[in-house]
Amino acid sequence: MATILPVSSILLITGFGLVLIGLCGILIHRHLLRIIIGFTLFGTGLHIVIVATGYVTGGTAPIIDRALGPAEAGRAIDPIPSALVVTAIVIGFAVTAIMLAYAVRLHSARKTFDIGAFTESKW
């Protein structure tokens, strides 16, 4: 199958697109939960970008098995970005959990998710 763009470029554009959508969500919306969704979109886009930079033309998954013998291991993609992204996904989950916990806390204090209602706590 002939593609106009190389695979990594498609992934880069998708990832950066998701980052921009997330950034839009963070900056434009006033609802706390939508802002948190924006942050997770931002993070997911960056994960896709990091994985895309590890792609090697014609490479395959870095798993030594019948499809990829030990002798031809040079055909594998770069495993380091994948390993970093596994870490990043877990940390992203942790950050989202903390953000949601704060949102729940703020909601129980003010009974609203509108970020405009939280103005006095700048000190």
Binding site: S9, L27, V56, A61, P62, A76, P79, V90, A97, Y102
Partner: protein, 230 residues
């Protein structure tokens, strides 16, 4: 209005940077030297087939330990943030919910063992094929999520989960110290025999560490999900 224009301006600037980055990127045609070393040496040095797992648990094991510590702190701080105040407990009695329908109950009962088995498979398969402790732990926690969604009245034994999680964490550090004493350094998994690459019992202590990670992550995420239930 001005707020919106400012936001769109910032997004446009980011878009310009990203277009330059994506446009100037050329796909690699060969591995970086470090990656090449990992890909060629990991099967020989560690006996792992899945090189990503080898990097996560052996070469960057210390990072993984730090990450598990971050997860632990998050579970603790979410508990602190969402703790029920004594006053709340009295007045905010849980509203009477309709019990879940037959379809939901039966469906969750059928699916839950399958999900948990699949999670266990992904955890123990980490050194052979795609999978590993974090991924399998997340699958196990998704099963717990399904259980809590299907039956909001279900009680998780949070104390037992915390105990399992702490025990797995301590054993993980213990493995690291064993590696320090018996093999090349902290978290070196080669203190057990490497065995034959590609079989279930191989790759030194990597399957054990992977299983501990899976148990710890699964228990931790379940505790976090449980905390969010009001």
């Amino acid at each position: 209005m001005i707020h919106r224009v400012g936001a769109l301006f910032a997004v446009t600037l980011f878009a310009l940077i990203f277009i330059r980055l994506a446009g100037g990127y050329t796909e690699r045609s060969a591995l970086r030297p470090l990656a090449e070393h990992y890909v060629l040496q990991a099967p020989l040095e560690l006996g792992v087939s899945n090189i990503v797992t080898g990097i996560l648990i052996a070469y960057r094991g210390f990072d993984t330990l730090g990450e598990v510590a971050v997860l632990f702190m998050v579970a603790a701080s979410v508990g602190l943030l969402l703790r029920k105040d004594e006053a709340d407990l009295g007045e905010a009695k849980a509203p009477q919910r309709r019990p879940a329908s037959e379809i939901v109950m039966t469906g969750s009962r059928v699916l839950l063992p399958v999900i948990l088995t699949f999670g266990a498979y992904v955890i123990v398969n980490g050194h052979l094929s795609a999978g590993g402790g974090f991924q399998g732990g997340a699958i196990v926690a998704s099963g717990v999520m399904l259980l809590l969604l299907a039956d909001p009245a279900a009680r998780l034994n949070a104390a037992a989960l915390s105990m399992i999680e702490s025990l797995a964490g301590m054993l993980y550090v213990g493995m690291g110290i064993l590696g320090l004493i018996l093999a090349g350094g902290f978290l070196d998994p080669r203190f057990l025999p490497l065995g034959e690459a590609g079989t279930l019992i191989s790759a030194g202590a990597i399957p054990l560490v992977s299983a501990l990670l899976g148990i710890k992550v699964g228990a931790e995420l379940s505790v976090i999900i449980n905390r969010f239930r009001s």
